[in-house]
């Protein structure tokens, strides 16, 4: 051991730098094992194919399309997210690395790191599924800008709402079922808002000021702030 080792560096790690380190580590592990990605994409692709195969782009009447396509899109997105977003915490618990993480990073940083990771997964999910959905279901959208804003903000809301729940169920038994049961009541308002927003964007009339997008952003801000307060309580014994 070099003799200079005694002087303890006053660590200057900010919450963000710790979170980024956790995020990068999670991405690297995920890239190698691909547990979460497989779970999410498998679910999403199969449901999308099942839906588009059975309905196709003609079965729904033209007037109904904006609304019904919005519902189908968000059913696919929310439930495929619910099938994989708990993976990062659950794997951490099963591998026994949660204690090491507790000893090296502050709770807020762990939350943010895992949140970024979940948002990356959701981003990948949306990038693949939304365009495919639009093409396969013949979903004409009048205001693409508003539509993308809605999809992105609701995706962020999905991440914000489920990350702390994933942390809790990772330390409980019956994890998979519990995660959906706990997350769904919290996500339902967001889902209703997202469906309405997509319909409004698709129809394209009276979409001034993107009301639903603003509601989704409010949801994101509230959930992240609440989670930053509550996460340390469930993180430390």
């Amino acid at each position: 051991m070099k003799n200079g080792r005694w002087i303890t560096q006053t660590e200057s790690s900010t919450c963000l730098s710790e979170a980024l380190a956790i995020w990068v580590r999670d991405l690297r592990s995920e890239f190698r094992t691909r547990y979460a990605v497989n779970a999410i994409l498998m679910f999403a692709v199969t449901t999308l194919i099942a839906v588009s195969f059975s309905i196709g782009s003609f079965r729904i009447a033209e007037t109904e399309k904006p609304f019904l396509n919005g519902v189908l899109l968000w059913v696919i997105l929310v439930f495929s997210a619910l099938s994989g977003l708990s993976r990062s915490f659950v794997k951490e618990e099963e591998a026994g690395t949660m204690d090491v993480l507790k000893l090296s990073a502050r709770p807020q940083a762990v939350f943010l790191g895992k949140l970024f990771f979940n948002l990356t997964l959701l981003g990948a999910l949306e990038l693949i599924i939304v365009p495919a959905f639009i093409i396969m279901m013949g979903y004409e959208i009048e205001l693409p800008g508003c539509f993308t804003a809605m999809v992105v903000s609701a995706g962020l809301g999905l991440g914000a709402g489920t990350t702390i729940v994933a942390a809790m169920i990772a330390q409980a038994s019956a994890r998979g079922a519990l995660f959906s049961a706990l997350s769904f009541p919290l996500l339902l308002p967001l889902m209703i808002v997202a469906i309405k927003g997509c319909e409004r964007a698709a129809v394209g009339t009276d979409a001034a000021g993107w009301p639903e997008v603003r509601i989704a952003v409010a949801y994101i801000v509230i959930m992240i702030i609440m989670s930053l307060f509550l996460f340390p309580l469930i993180w430390e014994e």
Binding site: M1, K2, R5, W6, I7, T8, Q9, E11, S12, S13, T14, S17, E18, L20, A21, I22, V24, R25, R28, S29, R32, T33, A95, G96, T97, D99, V100, K102, L103, S104, A105, R106, A109, E236, E237
Partner: protein
């Protein structure tokens, strides 16, 4: 910057469902001390270590760590301690050096690949840094855990059965680490191995 670090453990009790695991454990250690905690299996050695590390909340009593005069707040204690324990495991899908990189960065220690490689070299992991931890033998994993606990040069070092899975060379490394830490800070070893208990100049037996 060589503050006199000290650790005070007062009246620690811990109950699990109906059993009383730890009953009023108290001691205090200061810089340069090496303390051994012994006791039968299930006497609460590991639980006591986890309470000191702040991973577990005691049913009663408290743990205070002093840097010079002022008390280090509980949330900050994690920056001043390193822990090696059978229950702590590293990231299997990452390679040895990636684990080191993660622990350096997450602890805010400036990460230089060369430093990490040098540290790994010293615990006999030279040349293994590219392999995934999954492919490490349990002895190699134990050495990596020891290195990981020292990466931020902690004044308080908690070693829970450090010699487990280690060959004679590995045990030499543990002796080195304890000797090095003795001058610099506090060491607490939880073990029943006679060899490891002899490192200590004070012993606490949880089973009496």
């Amino acid at each position: 910057m060589n503050k006199g670090y000290a650790l005070k453990v007062e009246g620690i009790c811990k109950h699990y469902s109906q059993t009383l695991l730890l009953d009023d454990v108290s001691f205090s250690v200061k810089q340069g001390d090496v303390l051994a905690v012994t006791g039968w299996n299930g006497s609460g050695k590991s639980t006591l270590m986890r309470i000191i590390a702040g991973l577990v909340r005691p049913s009663a009593g408290r743990v205070l760590m002093f840097a010079g005069e002022e008390v280090i707040p509980k949330e900050m204690r994690r920056r001043f301690l390193g822990m090696v324990a059978p229950a702590l495991s590293l990231y299997d899908e990452l390679t040895g050096v990636e684990n080191m990189e993660f622990f350096c960065k997450v602890r805010g220690v400036p990460y230089h690949r060369s430093d990490s490689l040098a540290l790994m070299e010293q615990v006999g992991l030279g040349g293994h840094e590219k392999k995934r931890c999954r492919d490490y033998s349990s002895g190699m994993k134990q050495r990596l855990k020891i290195v990981q606990a020292l990466v931020h040069k902690p004044p308080l070092l908690l070693l829970d059965e450090p010699g487990s899975n280690l060959d004679s060379k590995g045990i030499k490394i543990v002796e080195n680490v304890v000797a090095e830490q003795r001058e610099m800070g506090i060491t607490i070893i939880a073990s029943n191995e006679k060899r490891e208990v002899d490192y200590a100049d004070r012993i606490i037996n949880l089973s009496e």
